[in-house]
């Protein structure tokens, strides 16, 4: 899809009004699939109504960090509190039910079941709850109503709710995930590389949705390797390098160049 | 091969050999029992070794082959068929007939492999389904032809099986076979010798030649192999067909080396056990061979216990039941696949069709 105007990455947003702490992580350690410790003792917190951006060159432990926070990967050490509850090492379902939304890095691998219709992908992690699942039975009318509403609300371009999601464009596939994740009552949104590989229209749309979530009092943890994206959206920025957070700064008081140096391994005190 | 796995192999072999010695020690000396058990182990491990080598050839190039069982069965039938036809029609000495049988067996194994290659490489069929198709087809063809040719009233030999030209002769390794007692181990039939030589040859080809390097490149990273000018499809085709011929040689073992007759379904899961040996041996020829010897020992146990049947003490009466002892190789296979003795890693592109 071509856009006939200047790309605006500068997102319009008001000053954040952060509320209570919603996510707290202490000394978190995670290993990757090969058994190497790629997250090596991380501490941070996210408050309601703010966007914490995690900046860093890809492969510095961001993937494993997000997988551990969402319950997809086990933790080796450390603690995690979500919404006031100790959720260390819990599986995805209780974490999701407590109010965490997750826009995964690899949308085709984790976020979608490609041969499934759009409607089924829109209830992928709520299928068992009323009104979609009642006494173990799927409720087609409720699933249909939900799909039509979300397709409308989030402007998903699809010929029908029953087209396999793999037939949709990348931007529309991501919108299916965004629609599903943002439409259920959530307290925290974890978005990992939410706009990678998308067209400009979709990027703008997703950026607006993320800021709208913040303004509604939802905490956002944004992980991105795109400096512009981090700078444009975040209220605070944590820089991740080799499995650790080297510094956390106020987004308004930092320059692109400084961030770039820290991401490349320069020490903040120097 | 790491120490953990080597230790496991040693332990299982010690248990299996120990059981036979325990049962048979009143009849003959432990040394004689161990020697004959070892000789039997090496012999019955032959189809497993060849099947595992077949699997290594295919999977190192990235093609999963669960059709080895079917390739073996086909080769066992057609190799045997060629041998008895030649013997009955030309009426010549058995040896040329048997060699022709082995050649036809390898050829028919190669043809079944060609079908697997067409299905899985050209048509990109799910490779496990493709292998299952080979297995079912092999049961169908051999069962049909066996009945059609030999057991029907209007069949060629009038409803009877002609006299087979016997089995392949033994070859005694010079000097080594002259050692008292232990010499028996070095007195084996020809396909058994061929299997041992092929273990060394396949190791050499895979790790010391250009072809081996190409094969491994295609199995690990086909796209990279393609960019440096290796023809992925051709490499896979050739490897799968060579693998089929190795499986064919393993099939010939059943009807030309072990016994001079064919029975439907006679391969009895050896092709699948060979795959387990390949996995346990981490896709290397020597590793697979040592695993094949473990399975061979489990099978030799059954053979030897039948021989010592009357000597089995009453407290070990369950060893008299061949059905129970016969479970050993199958249970061993499942145990090995659990990975408790250490997980092994398949070639990265194993089982994935290559899309340009």
């Amino acid at each position: 899809m071509m856009v006939g105007r200047e790309v605006i990455l500068k997102v319009e947003k008001n000053i954040a009004k952060p509320g209570d702490e919603i996510l707290r992580v202490e000394n978190l350690k995670v290993r990757d699939t090969r058994g190497l410790e790629t997250v090596r003792g991380i501490n941070f917190h996210v408050r309601a109504g703010e966007i914490l951006g995690i900046a860093g060159v890809q492969g510095n432990g961001q993937t494993e960090l997000v997988e551990a926070l969402t319950g997809l990967r086990s933790m080796v050490g450390g603690k995690m509190w979500f919404s006031g509850k100790d959720m260390t090492g819990r599986p995805p379902r209780p974490i999701t039910e407590t109010g965490m939304a997750h826009i995964p890095e690899d949308r085709q691998r984790h976020g979608l079941v490609l041969p499934y219709p759009v409607a089924d992908n829109m209830i992928l992690n709520t299928y068992y709850k009323r009104p979609y699942g009642v006494w173990g039975w799927m409720m087609p009318e409720a699933i249909d109503r939900n799909a039509r509403k979300l397709i409308d609300d989030f402007d998903v371009r699809t010929p029908s709710p029953y087209v396999p999601v793999k037939k949709l464009s990348g931007g529309n596939q991501q919108k299916v995930i965004v629609a599903r994740e943002l439409s259920r009552g959530i307290k925290l949104l974890i978005a990992n590389q939410p706009t990678r590989g998308l067209d400009v229209g979709s990027i703008e749309y997703i950026h607006k949705e993320i800021v709208a979530m913040r303004d509604r009092g939802i905490g956002v943890l944004l992980v991105s390797a795109e400096l512009d994206e981090i700078m444009a959206l975040s209220d605070r920025i944590a820089v991740m390098y080799r499995g650790q957070i080297v510094t956390t700064v106020d987004a308004a008081k930092v320059t692109r160049e400084q961030l770039g140096l820290w991401m490349a391994g320069a020490h903040p005190e120097e | 091969m790491d120490w953990k796995r080597f230790g496991f192999i040693a332990l299982i072999i010690a248990i299996l050999f120990g059981t036979v010695v325990l049962v048979g020690h009143t009849a003959s000396s432990p040394l004689v029992i161990i020697t004959s058990m070892l000789a039997t182990t090496i012999a019955v491990a032959t189809p497993l070794t060849l099947g595992a080598l077949s699997g290594i050839f295919c999977e190192r190039a990235g093609v999963v082959n669960i059709g080895i069982e079917g390739m073996m069965l086909t080769a066992a039938f057609f190799g045997w068929l060629a041998a008895i036809y030649m013997s009955a029609i030309l009426n010549i000495s058995p040896l040329p007939c048997l060699f022709t049988g082995v050649a036809v067996g390898m050829l028919s194994g190669g043809l079944m492999a060609l079908l697997h290659a067409v299905l899985s490489i050209t048509f990109k069929v799910d490779q496990i389904i493709g292998g299952t198709v080979i297995n079912i087809l092999a049961v169908g063809i051999t069962g049909f032809m066996n009945r059609q040719l030999f057991f029907e009233k209007n069949s060629i030999f009038g409803g009877s099986v002609p006299h087979a030209p016997g089995v392949l002769p033994r070859f005694s390794f010079p000097f080594l076979s002259d050692i008292p007692v232990f010499g028996r181990i070095f007195d084996q039939q020809l396909i058994t010798w061929a299997a041992i030589i092929l273990v060394i040859v396949v190791h050499f080809v895979l790790f010391k030649t250009r072809w081996g390097l190409r094969t491994r490149a295609v199995g690990e990273h086909p796209r990279a192999a393609d960019t440096v000018g290796i023809n992925v499809e051709r490499t896979r085709y050739i490897n799968v067909i060579i693998g089929g011929m190795l499986a064919g040689l393993g099939g010939a073992y059943f009807t030309i080396e072990s016994v001079p007759s064919f029975e439907p379904l006679m391969t009895n899961g050896r092709g699948f056990i060979a795959l387990a040996a390949m996995i346990f041996g981490n896709w290397t020829p020597f590793g697979a061979w040592s695993a094949a010897l473990v399975f061979g020992a489990a099978q030799a146990l059954q053979i030897k216990l039948q021989y010592f049947r009357d000597l089995i003490p009453p407290q070990l009466a369950f060893l008299q039941i061949s059905y129970v002892v016969g479970l050993a190789p199958y249970i061993l296979t499942m145990l090995i696949l659990t990975g408790i003795i250490g997980k092994t890693v398949p070639p990265v592109a194993d089982g994935q069709p290559y899309e340009k």
Binding site: V113, P115 | L115, D126, I128, T132, I136, L137, G143
Partner: protein, 374 residues
């Protein structure tokens, strides 16, 4: 705009439906033609042979009844394999699960009245015998399911190994502890089951029994579970994309074990129904090949319950008609195995069929199994 796209989508749906029926039909047709060539080459007349086959399968009330009798275990076992495929698992072990289902059904069928010391009413005895078979099949399949879930041991090799173990163990049981004390020429078999454990026949004088109706009901049930329940949603999600299933909060390990257990239950049902509805005892060798036929049936039926029922009927008609064909034309019944294997070749590689008949419908490649790593 909306309408145009709507029609296009509808057209896609129609084309998909046609290709999903057309390709299997052409695969069967091609295999039958090649099978005819094989018959001709081995000195038979394919037209007489196929006429005999057809007559044997559909030529009379009795022939129809026998086809239904053959179809009964095929439907159960085909559903078992298809259900596992839906969950991303390849159950080659239907053979062994079926054998144990039959052994357990027979045991309860002949021994339970002795154990309790008096006759048991049929309303209790039949469900108990069939239930025992279901339980045996379930447990036997749950083992490779657990091995897959907890150790990653590949279910293909494990279910094959368990087939051989089951074969050895049933041989042991039928020649030892469970052997019929009345020795006849067929020695490897259990005593006959009590009449109270018989599943009744539907029509007088025909062998087709109520187990056949149960098979059809099971097909509907499997369809309902897979597409109308949250459990089915979980099974299909794990089968289509285990990573996304984990993301969705589904317990992947539990679902794998459950899928194998359900699959085994259906296979065990096949065995128990054969014993209680038809053979009225378990005999060694009766089940040889059911497991592999079931794979072919599941694939021919595109792993859909309705497709499985149709494919099971086709295979049943061939197996049943083959006896008549052999009687009339001396073509060995084993030709059916060749034709079935060919059908499977063409189903697996439907690109061949599309090529031969120049069908220009884009095929979707469905991932049914994964390599050793998964």
């Amino acid at each position: 705009m909306q309408e145009k796209e709507g029609r296009k989508w509808w057209r896609n749906f129609a084309e998909d439906s046609i290709s999903s029926i057309l390709v299997p039909l052409l695969a069967v047709l091609t295999a039958v033609v090649i099978g005819g060539l094989v018959i001709a080459l081995s000195g038979g007349n394919p037209f007489f042979a196929y006429a005999g086959l057809f007559e044997g399968a559909f030529g009379s009330q009795k022939a129809l009844s026998e086809t239904a009798v053959w179809a009964t275990p095929y439907i159960f076992a085909g559903l078992a394999v298809a259900l596992a495929f839906k969950g991303g698992l390849f159950n080659i072990g239907a053979e062994g699960q079926l054998a144990f289902g039959a052994v357990a059904g027979a045991l309860i069928g002949y021994a339970l009245p002795d154990w309790v010391g008096h006759d048991i009413p049929a309303t209790l005895h039949v469900p108990l015998a069939v239930g025992a078979g279901v339980l045996a099949g379930t447990l036997w399949a749950a083992i490779p399911g657990m091995l897959k879930a907890y150790t990653g041991g590949h279910e293909v090799i494990n279910t094959i190994m368990m087939n051989y173990i089951a074969l050895n163990m049933t041989s042991f049981l039928l020649n030892g502890p469970m052997q019929d004390p009345v020795l006849t020429s067929v020695s490897s078999r259990t005593p006959p089951i009590a009449e109270s454990a018989y599943i009744p026949q539907i029509f007088d004088g025909l062998r087709v029994h109520w187990g056949f109706v149960l098979a059809l009901i099971m097909a509907v049930l499997v369809w309902l579970v897979l597409w109308k329940t949250t459990l089915g949603f979980e099974i299909r999600t794990v089968g289509s994309n285990p990573d996304a299933a984990k993301y969705a909060g589904i317990n992947v390990k539990r679902t794998i074990i459950l899928t194998m257990a359900f699959s085994g239950a259906l296979a065990g049902l096949a065995g128990a129904i054969e014993v209680t509805g038809l053979n009225h005892r378990h005999e060694l060798g009766f089940s040889i090949g059911y497991g592999f036929d079931a794979i072919a049936i599941a694939l021919l039926g595109k792993t859909h319950p309705l497709g499985v029922v149709l494919a099971a009927f086709l295979f049943a008609a061939m197996r049943n008609g083959a006896t008549r064909m052999q009687f009339l034309t001396q073509i060995p019944v084993d030709i059916i195995s060749v034709i079935q294997a060919l059908i499977l070749v063409f189903i697996a590689a439907d690109a061949i069929i599309r090529f031969i008949y120049r069908i220009r419908i884009k095929g979707e490649r469905v991932v049914l199994t994964r390599g050793w790593g998964g």
